[in-house]
């Protein structure tokens, strides 16, 4: 396996800049997730690494080799797509053998048989080897696609939303399987997705992309707890973080556009990172699990919606024109339009610059 390094990658399609000066280092044996909305440049990045797209400028290094001039075949990377792209008239075995039978490789027959067997065991499809691929379920097909990537023993695995076509239960199962597999193979794996749950649960590190730029690179814990700006804060986490515009009065009072206000305690003040005096206007972020229902004091609101999720309940509270979401235990009795009071866990508050959207707490 190999490490990967991207230096100042730029790519445009006509007028549209798909990648803007993108630099990224991915470690050997790392499960790295590129996360972002449609059009952020995730797939373009992956295709540049694979050699299916040529960047206008910048350097791509796999291991110690600069591979910009290399063809896709020479780069020795394996791609797995959302669509299974298997040969429908072939058996699973023939599909797995296919990449090894290319003229470029000239792999001996015993070696092919050995690798196919090993890959089939790894992704648990030994019992399907003689079945035609059009007779397989979605989950089985995706396992075969991954198996076909494994037989090649490539330097890098590149996966583009490979789980998106599967139903929720199967996705959950394959997430654990894939992460376990990557660790066992010691593979360097770059995984593209728009699904933050996939990114959080599988990635050793996540690179969050927006408009062709890397906004933040970090572990799932870092990205969730120390989002660099409001984009990352609201893209990662479900239910989404609560965000509202506010003004700071003195150093102690947060006033939200004529609707509600709350006093900052010392924990909350420390989250402002000493910038209160300089910044009258901020955007406040608070995750739903850090909104608490309180018996008295706090901020008055009305229950706008309550969703039972079994393990917890998600309550939407309306305060004037604002909607604040709170995660509460399922045992709390809640009825629609009920009056409630809420407070925030202040040592978990985020303050963002109202203009640049940068996180002030973790600047």
């Amino acid at each position: 396996m190999a490490r990967l390094s991207l230096r100042n990658l730029c790519k445009t399609y006509g007028e549209v800049a798909a990648l803007r000066d993108m630099s990224l280092d991915i470690h050997d044996r790392e499960f790295f997730v590129l996360l972002g909305p449609t059009g952020a440049g995730k797939t373009t990045t992956l295709r540049c690494i694979a050699g299916l797209e040529k960047p206008e400028s910048g350097e791509i290094r796999i291991g110690d080799d600069i591979v910009n001039g290399w063809s896709a075949a020479q780069r020795d990377v394996a791609l797995v797509f959302q669509q299974y792209s298997l040969y429908p008239n072939y058996t699973v075995r023939e599909n797995l053998e296919f990449p090894l039978k290319s003229k470029l490789r000239r792999t001996p027959a015993e070696e092919i048989a050995r690798r196919v067997q090993k890959a089939a065991e790894t992704v648990r499809i030994q019992h399907l080897l003689d079945r035609r691929t059009d007779r397989l379920s979605g989950g089985e097909m995706q396992r075969v696609s991954i198996g076909r990537a494994i037989v090649r023993e490539p330097r890098l695995f590149l996966m583009d939303e490979p789980l998106s076509n599967l139903d929720a239960k199967l996705r959950e199962l394959l997430r654990s399987e894939l992460k376990e597999l990557q660790a066992r193979l010691g593979a360097t794996l770059i995984f593209v997705t728009h699904d933050q749950v996939e990114a959080m649960t599988m990635g050793d590190r996540i690179g969050v992309l927006c408009d062709g730029q890397l906004v933040q690179v970090g572990t799932p814990y870092e990205v969730y707890n120390f989002p660099r700006n409001t984009f990352v804060a609201s893209f990662v986490g479900t239910p989404a973080i609560n965000l509202f515009d506010a003004a700071i009065d003195g150093e102690e009072l947060i006033v939200v556009k004529d609707t509600f206000q709350f006093a900052l305690d010392s924990a909350g003040r420390s989250r402002l990172n000493g910038s209160a005096a300089k910044r009258a206007k901020v955007r406040v972020g608070v995750r739903p699990e850090h909104v608490k229902l309180v018996p008295n004091g706090g901020i008055e609101g009305t229950v706008y919606g309550a969703e039972n999720h079994g393990v917890e309940m998600i309550v939407t509270i309306s305060i004037a024109e604002h909607f604040i979401r709170a995660t509460v235990p399922p045992t709390v009795p809640i009825t629609l339009n009920q009056a409630v009071r809420i407070g925030f866990v202040q040592d978990k508050l985020h303050f963002f610059d109202a203009d640049s959207t940068e996180n002030l707490t973790h600047a």
């Binding site: 139903d167 959950e172 376990e180 959080m200 649960t201 989404a240 706008y304 969703e307 939407t316 629609l336």
Partner: protein, 366 residues
């Protein structure tokens, strides 16, 4: 009153029995979700209520009146599909007004009613636009507005928000639930998404292979699933279901998964419960009912952490227990590295035992 009674309903497509002896009573004002995988018969049931599908046998009553012999137009119900079926040449306003215009409601009343519905759906500012100028979520709001404007006896919805993106779906769940309450309507809602079912329903009716598996409140189906199918269809992360052996121990029942030396201790009642079934037994426990401690505790067993799946607000740990993998939901960062040892216990009151042959839950015997 728009209570809906489905009595002994049966429907076949060729040799495929899509609804089998279905009995379901929906009270006036209730929000009932028909939940199940594709092909389970939920949509066929909804279409039968609407009059778009004829039953082979059985009855459907709305407000006490038998309707399965009536055409769809005489049942006074509104239907919302997943795909927005709007008239492309009409504005959003006229699309919503369409059912009223069709029954010659005076223009002044039409305006009032459309405005009122648009306000609830928060689409007042786009009433002059044509459907082609609207985003997916807005189109679906217009579709729902058209269904609501007549104030029908019952609202039937077939995956109405399935095609929207995740954020919008979250928002629409809350809105649809509110609309239901504010309109005092009876709603029957079809989905394959258990999150939608859990978060909106008064009661969930879970179907599989044309057979009704369980009907109950979200809390009931989540905490007291009737069988293995319901147990694993509802809830995320999925409930752990593992083969187990149960033997008499010193102070109760010893429960082991394959490959385990030590055992989880349960009350003696568990053994009587399982003995009564006379079949192999599977244990079911939700990830949040696997109690995890970072240090040794009395009554807890040491296990190896195989994988950590962070979710932000919490973590899911894959634990190796004997030859089995058990998933546990813990606070974030309780464990920092795979292959650490943690101590676990199964919360007995939230552990289920299932007859493996029938799939049925074995209830505690009191």
């Amino acid at each position: 009153m728009a209570d809906i009674d489905i009595i002994d309903a049966e429907k076949c497509f060729g040799s495929n029995r899509v609804i089998r002896k279905l009995n379901l009573q929906i009270a006036h004002g209730e929000f009932v979700v028909l939940l199940g995988p594709s092909g389970c018969g939920k949509t066929t049931t909804l279409r039968a209520i609407a009059g778009l599908e004829e039953l082979d046998s059985g009855e459907i009553r709305i407000g006490g009146r038998r309707v399965d012999t009536l055409p769809a137009s005489e049942r006074d119900i509104a239907f919302v599909f997943q795909l927005y079926s709007l008239y492309p040449h009409l504005s959003a306003f006229e699309n919503i007004a369409f059912p009223l215009r069709a029954s010659n409601v005076p223009d002044k009343v039409v305006r009032e009613k459309v405005k009122a519905v648009a306000k609830v759906l928060r689409i007042e500012h786009m009433l002059n636009k044509k459907p082609s100028a609207l985003a997916g979520g807005d189109m679906q709001r217009v579709t729902i507005g058209r269904a609501l404007v007549r104030r029908p006896k019952a609202m039937l919805m077939d995956e109405p928000i399935g095609a929207l993106d995740a954020k919008l779906r979250e928002q629409m769940r809350t809105e649809l639930r509110r609309l239901h309450v504010e309109n005092d309507s009876t709603t029957v809602y079809v989905t394959h998404d258990q999150v939608e079912a859990m978060s909106m329903a008064d009661r969930i009716a879970i179907m599989n292979d044309g057979v009704l598996q369980q009907v109950g409140s979200p809390t009931e189906v989540y905490e007291r699933p009737a069988n293995l199918f319901v147990a694993q269809f509802v809830g995320s992360p999925i409930m752990n279901v593992l083969d187990c052996s149960i033997e008499a121990g010193e102070s109760g029942a010893n429960v082991r998964f394959k490959g385990m030396d030590s055992a989880f201790m349960f009350g003696a009642e568990v053994q009587r419960r399982v003995a009564a079934s006379g079949s192999d037994v599977a244990l079911g426990v939700r990830p949040e009912a696997v109690l995890v401690e970072p240090t040794r505790q009395p009554g807890y067993l040491p296990v190896d952490v195989h994988l950590i799946e962070p979710q932000g607000a919490y973590d899911v740990l894959d634990l190796r227990v004997g030859e089995a993998i058990l998933r546990a939901r813990t606070e974030s960062q309780l464990v920092n590295q795979p292959h650490e040892t943690v101590w676990i216990k199964l919360d007995e009151t939230r552990t289920h035992f299932f007859d493996k042959k029938s799939g049925l839950v074995l209830r505690a015997q009191s």
